[in-house]
């Protein structure tokens, strides 16, 4: 069992409340999985900059890392120091920023990159992770969250969701795949590299691979239905899209609420019950095998 939540805000007036609303939803889903938790938050792009969401296992001086990268590639670097987590905003392209990170912060775990996306994830209860990284104070136009009860691979920060297989792509999954090894071998032959042995990471990298080859998010999720077997409710966000898909058995729950101001998705309704205007929302259960997408 795992809990997933997501919020796609249509009304700009709500953007300042993204973290607060998503944090409450995620905390509510703690009963579905207490191992580890995480969120991906999407905020307005600052032109020319890329954000690196990083996790350190040892003590680290984030400011020193920022200075080293700034000198290395002669670019401005802004640093947000959150203890074991750091977010660097680098005035460079994704590849250039990541290359420099590999030179100066080799031991760091890169949990996500993006022009609009930041990822915070770790082992522990949602409320601990929310407090540790100040999620409630963060703003943005959409976010996804996950709280995990591991059934198939280890409980570590790397194994927790969201998985970010490409810049500005985050996937959360409730369920279990039955043929991830087969799909993984195929992707590895195509040169795709994996961070963990987690089955959801296979799905995330599969989706990213389809998109790299030209599919939009909706098409990529149709391909998931063709090539991946198992149980899944998936929630995927990209820089401009938000999508939900359930497998043909639909034995992993999902409920969606839509108003003029937002689209909200959660494993269970009570995670949505505190949202503003929920009483007037159109609340529905996504049907099996249908790809639901929203774009901004």
């Amino acid at each position: 069992m795992c809990g997933i939540v997501g919020l796609h805000l249509k009304a700009p007036v709500l953007h300042s409340r993204l973290g607060e609303l998503l944090a409450a939803m995620l905390d509510c889903m703690s009963s579905r999985g207490p191992d580890s938790a995480g969120v991906a938050l999407f905020d307005e792009v600052r032109p020319g900059r890329v954000k690196l969401s990083l996790h350190a296992t040892d003590d680290i001086d984030w400011d020193a890392l920022g200075r080293a990268i700034a000198e290395d590639i002669e670019a401005s670097v802004e640093v947000e120091d959150l203890g074991d987590v750091g977010v660097l905003s680098v005035e460079a392209g994704v590849d250039r920023a990541v290359d420099s990170l590999r030179r100066h912060g080799r031991s760091l775990m890169l949990v996500g990159t993006g022009h609009s996306m930041e990822i915070f994830k770790d082992v522990g209860l949602p409320r601990e992770i929310i407090a540790r990284y100040g999620i409630e104070k963060r703003s943005g136009y959409q976010g996804v969250g996950h709280t995990r009860m591991a059934t198939e691979s280890a409980v570590t920060t790397e194994h927790s969701h969201p998985f970010a297989p490409a810049a500005d792509v985050a996937l959360v999954h409730n369920g279990s795949f039955s043929n991830p090894a087969t799909v993984r071998r195929r992707l590895e032959r195509e040169g795709i590299r994996f961070d963990t042995d987690n089955d959801s990471e296979v799905c995330a990298r599969f989706v990213a691979r389809q998109m790299e080859q030209g599919a939009d998010l909706g098409d990529a999720l149709h391909m998931v239905q063709k090539d991946l077997d198992g149980f899944f409710t998936l929630l995927v966000a990209t820089g401009d899209q938000f999508a939900v898909l359930r497998d043909s058995f639909a034995c992993k729950p999902a409920v969606i609420a839509e108003t003029d101001d937002y689209v909200a998705m959660a494993s269970e309704y009570h995670a949505l019950a505190g949202l503003p205007g929920i009483g007037a929302a159109r609340v529905f259960e996504p049907v099996p095998e249908e790809v639901y997408t929203w774009s901004r």
Binding site: A250, C251, P253, V255, E268, Y269, H270, A271, L272, A273, G274, V283, E285, V287, P288
Partner: protein, 227 residues
Amino acid sequence: MEPVTLSCAELSTRELNSALAELSDGASARIIEPWGRHNLAVGLTNRISVEIEGNAGYFIGGLGDGPDVTVDGFVGWSAGENLMSGTIRVRGNASECTAASAHGGTVIVHGDASSRTGISLKGGTVVVGGDVGHMSGFMAQAGIILVGGNAGHGLGDSLYETAIYVAGTIASLGSDAQVEELTDEDVLTVKRLVATSGFDHIDPEDVTRIGSARQLYNFDALSAQKY
């Protein structure tokens, strides 16, 4: 007698269910601010009536043996799961596995019910005014399922002796399910359920009866030769 009012905003699920269990037969209770709370009004064996004013979560009225529970909103998975007797009425939609394994009693859903409605039904009655999702009536052993709208794929898969009536269309039947002739007795049964539920959009003479072909009842030692 004035109904007792219990608020989910003030009480834990355990406190709330204990308070309901202590009521004497004939009493009534209102549950306010349910906000999708799971396990409301479960395991009650008294003859009380409970009105849940809002949307509720999973297992509403489950394991009940006596009470009449009404939800003025929608419910999550498995409303009336393992019901023994009494009535659960949902004025909105229901999610998956409504009335799973219900031995007795009646579960009435005014809106749609999702996948696996009446899965493994063991003698209860399920009446859905709208549509039901895929694999409804899966391995249902006894009792009745009446669907006022359309049924999804795989209806009545591996059915035992539950009778399923569908007023609308059936996307597909599951293994071993078959359309059977509607008898006068069936029409009387549907009439009775229409009266109980108030779903007068259902014409008792114009429903499709689904029963078991009973080909999966026994192991067929020669079945391997068919391949």
